[in-house]
């Protein structure tokens, strides 16, 4: 028997959910793999929702909203786009980025709704089951996805993405605008840093560890780990526990 993907969809109430209803009214037939969570606007979809779903082993997650310019709340889908892009970048650290998708489906696109869902089912089927799927989740990967989930909840990343449109589309008080590429570089660095820091915090969940241990465990440069430890200490998330020989052991607070 071929693999049947388990999919989740977040649909905005005003366009995509209405489009899905129209598909029904028109009796458009599409594969029954996706369960839908209705939200008022695609902008409501927190990156954590997508990551959590993947963490639970769901094979693919779809976010659908109104076409750009048509959002019932004016700009919600612009925000959705930014958040989705960030989520995708975070998930690319572990190769799960092709399991989430964003699309715009209007209230009149019943046929198209059926088409895009069918396509998603097909594409995820081609990818095969998620390495985190229920029966046999890849434990190492699971830890990384947990770190991604935590990273998506950090103030730094949320503030960056939340301000992204203002920063790149409007001038600041000094009359300057940050070009998109420059912002992206900034964001990319932040994403990687926060991801690594959350991995460190997770690794410290049970026992205290030295920088060297952590570096080996997480395959990171020791100097990098040390830098992160200092930041985390500054945020009062870790502290020295004891010094054994010459090596300080860190613990999570």
């Amino acid at each position: 028997m071929s693999f049947e993907p388990k999919l989740l969809g977040f649909l905005c109430n005003w366009c995509s959910y209405a489009g899905a209803d129209l598909a029904g009214v028109s009796r458009i037939q599409y594969p029954p793999n996706m369960r839908v969570i209705r939200v008022m606007c695609s902008g409501r979809v927190d990156p954590k929702f997508l990551i959590q779903a993947l963490e639970l082993g769901i094979d693919g997650v779809y976010v659908m909203g109104c076409h750009i310019g048509d959002c019932h709340y004016l700009e919600g889908n612009y925000e959705a786009l930014r958040k989705f892009d960030m989520t995708k970048k975070l998930l690319s650290f572990v190769g799960l980025d092709n399991r989430i998708r964003l699309d715009w489906v209007s209230a009149s696109e019943g046929v198209r709704f059926g088409e895009v869902v069918s396509k998603f089912v097909e594409d995820i089927r081609a990818l095969g089951p998620s390495p985190l799927s229920r029966d046999n989740p890849d434990q190492e990967l699971l830890k990384k996805v947990k770190a991604i989930n935590m990273a998506a909840g950090t103030k730094r990343l949320r503030a960056l993405v939340g301000r992204q449109r203002k920063i790149t589309e409007e001038e600041n008080v000094y009359g300057e605008k940050v070009p998109e590429e420059e912002f992206n570089e900034l964001l990319d660095t932040a994403l990687k840093e926060e991801y690594d820091r959350q991995r460190i915090l997770l690794a410290l969940a049970r026992d205290s560890k030295s920088v060297k241990d952590l570096a080996v465990e997480l395959s990171l440069e020791p100097s990098l780990v040390l830098e992160h430890m200092l930041t985390l200490k500054g945020r009062s998330q870790v502290d020295f526990q004891e010094i054994i020989g010459n090596t300080p052991l860190f613990m999570r607070i």
Binding site: L8, N13, W14, C15, Y17, A18, A20, D21, A23, G24, V25, R27, I28, Q29, Y30, P31, P32, R35, V36, I37, R38, V39, M40, C41, G43, R44, V45, D46, P47, K48, F49, Q52, A53, L56, G57, I58, C66, G69, D70, H72, Y73, L74, E75, G76, E79, K83, S106, A107, S108, E109, G114, G153, K155, R158, A159, V161, G162, R163, R165, K166
Partner: protein, 562 residues
């Protein structure tokens, strides 16, 4: 609320699975679905109903609330977009807060779209109910927000639909503004000759309506005026109207869209030249000036409609052609008229008579096949006659093209200002074709006439009245309750708020401010509950009522497994 608190509150969920006749029950076993949902956490009762939305079904819900002491209700049936208000009302009649209701869509998004996969559809419905019940457990009672209503209406479009709406509203005593972008009222009717049925003179007819509008109390006419911006919400719109370079702002309670439609530019179709080959519309003005002396006249139906690019039927062209054919015969009984058609559409008790009369007077009807389009030559048309299976050659000195009504070019801008959708052909899309044909999904905005799809005069007038009547359901109240599912910064989350103000910037409605106490505050009447602020909040302090993180996460977990 934690699990502990839930137990303390003694959450009791009731689940009602609707057969919807055979729409759901014909494919999947609703009784079994209900039985199995009894196993779900906090579910105290489950049953299946033939039609949960019927009197009997609603009574069953009320009875179960009482008998089983339910404090959360889940209905698994059609779609919340049409039926949520009904069930909310039902449970509030039974004494529950209307927000303690959750809808599960197992028809439009399940049995109707998986008709060949009964088992999979069943599994999907079961998952959806599980998710819906999980969310229901987390639902919290909410209060609706009261807002005041400005008892004034604005009708956009001064054609026959708009004028009918404006007259009706002003006669009911509401201050009404009628906005027309041209310099005079009347719209398309100004250039028509005679109207079907009964061959009423168009100028006389529209002249009467215009003079009624001009003499109406409470009715202000704004010609050469254009709506350029709309802010606010039901009962409290602020509309900016531009007139000769000056901008005035109006406080409006309800808005009616009656902008009508446009005429397809026929350039390039069937040798159109505006002279010997003209549109029905141009024919009307010739008739008006008694200028039809041509002998051989051919009309072609469905020119530029019911094709791939424009698949819809323009609905008025058949009757227009019949009417004009008879009018030509009136002015010039010698004329030979041939109508090339694909299908003829003369519904109702009045219109078929036109077809009969036309045949009696010798109008010739030739059915053509869209696969073998008529070929237009300089003085004759070659057409393959389907009935006799041969090609005919028909001479003409006047060729009349029945072109469709199309959506206005500027519909898009108005739709964006109103936050309402357009359909695939760029006409305005109503909230529901059967249940709410003259409403938009956006509260306080209504629609009538050809802005929705092409309709004739009679229908335009009915729809104008319908839209006015819908608007008056709002305007006749001093206050109205609006959605209570807004954003909020709950007391218990106040300490989480870092005051970063990212939410203030991201809110599309300026509903979040930092108040004098330097605290984040949500102005609830402005908040529309989109949820962008919560998805953005840097420390996850903001909560979107009815779509809380906790509620959405519970749906994700119910599906993904703990």
């Amino acid at each position: 609320m934690s699990e502990e608190e839930k137990k303390e509150e003694n959450v009791r969920v009731g689940i009602f699975v609707c057969h919807c006749g055979s729409n759901i029950g014909g494919l999947i076993d609703c009784h079994k679905l209900a039985e199995e949902s009894k196993e779900l956490p906090f579910v105290a009762h489950a049953e299946d109903n033939l039609y949960t939305c019927s009197e009997t079904g609603l009574a069953a819900i009320k009875k179960a609330i009482e008998e089983h002491n339910l404090n959360r209700v889940v209905v698994a049936s059609c779609t919340p977009r049409t039926h949520e208000p009904l069930f909310r009302e039902c449970i509030s009649e039974a004494g529950l807060n209307p927000y303690l209701f959750n809808f599960v869509n197992i028809r439009d998004q399940c049995t109707w779209v998986h008709m060949k996969h009964a088992q999979e559809a069943y599994d999907k419905a079961k998952d959806l109910i599980k998710m819906g019940a999980a969310k229901a457990v987390k639902l919290e009672p909410l209060e609706m927000i009261m807002v005041n209503i400005t008892p004034a209406a604005m009708v956009i479009g001064g054609g026959v639909a708009g004028m009918s709406a404006a007259l009706s509203l002003s006669r009911q005593g509401f201050k009404t503004y009628l906005v027309e972008k041209e310099d005079k009222l009347g719209g398309r009717l100004n250039s028509l000759y005679k109207l079907f049925p009964y061959d009423i003179d168009a100028s006389e007819f529209i002249g009467n309506i215009i003079s009624n509008v001009q003499n109406a109390k409470n009715l202000e006419i704004l010609t050469s005026s254009q709506v350029i911006n709309i802010e606010g919400f039901v009962g409290n719109f602020e509309v900016e109207v531009e007139h000769n370079g000056t901008i005035n702002t109006f406080e409006i309670g309800a808005i009616i869209v009656a902008v009508g439609s446009s005429i397809l530019d026929p350039t390039g179709l069937f040798g159109y030249d505006g002279n010997k080959r003209i549109t029905q519309f141009e024919l009307e003005s010739k008739l008006k000036n008694n200028k039809i002396n041509q002998k051989d006249i051919i009309m072609i139906q469905c020119v530029g409609s019911r094709i791939e690019e424009r698949p819809y039927c323009s609905s008025v062209c058949c009757m227009t052609a019949l009417k004009n054919a008879l009018n030509i015969k009136d002015q010039n009984p010698e004329a030979h008229i041939t109508i090339l058609f694909r299908d003829l559409y003369t519904p109702g008790t009045e219109y078929e008579e036109y077809y009969r009369k036309a045949r009696e007077q010798g109008v010739l009807f030739v059915k053509y096949d869209p696969e073998k389009m008529p070929v237009i030559e300089e003085t004759q048309v070659k057409v393959f006659n389907e009935y006799i299976n041969t090609e005919m050659t028909i001479p003409y000195d006047l060729l009349v093209l029945s072109t469709p009504l199309v959506a206005n070019d500027d519909n898009k801008e108005l739709a964006q200002m109103l936050k309402v959708p357009l359909e695939a052909n760029k006409f305005f899309l109503e909230a529901h074709v059967k249940l709410r044909p003259n409403d938009f999904a956006t509260d306080g905005v209504y629609i009538g006439g050809s802005a929705k799809w092409p309709v004739d005069i009679t229908e335009s007038i009915s729809q104008g009245y319908a839209a006015a009547s819908r608007a008056s359901t709002i305007l006749s109240h001093d206050t109205i309750e609006v959605e209570g599912a807004t954003s909020c910064l709950p007391e218990y989350n106040k300490s989480l708020c870092t005051g970063c103000e990212v939410c203030v910037k991201v809110c599309p409605f300026n509903a979040i401010i930092k108040n004098e106490d330097d605290e984040i505050e949500i102005i609830e009447a402005l908040c529309k509950g989109c949820g962008v602020c919560a998805a953005t909040c840097t420390n996850q302090a903001l909560v979107i009522r009815h779509f809380t993180d906790d509620q959405i996460m519970s749906e994700i977990f119910a599906y993904g497994g703990e």
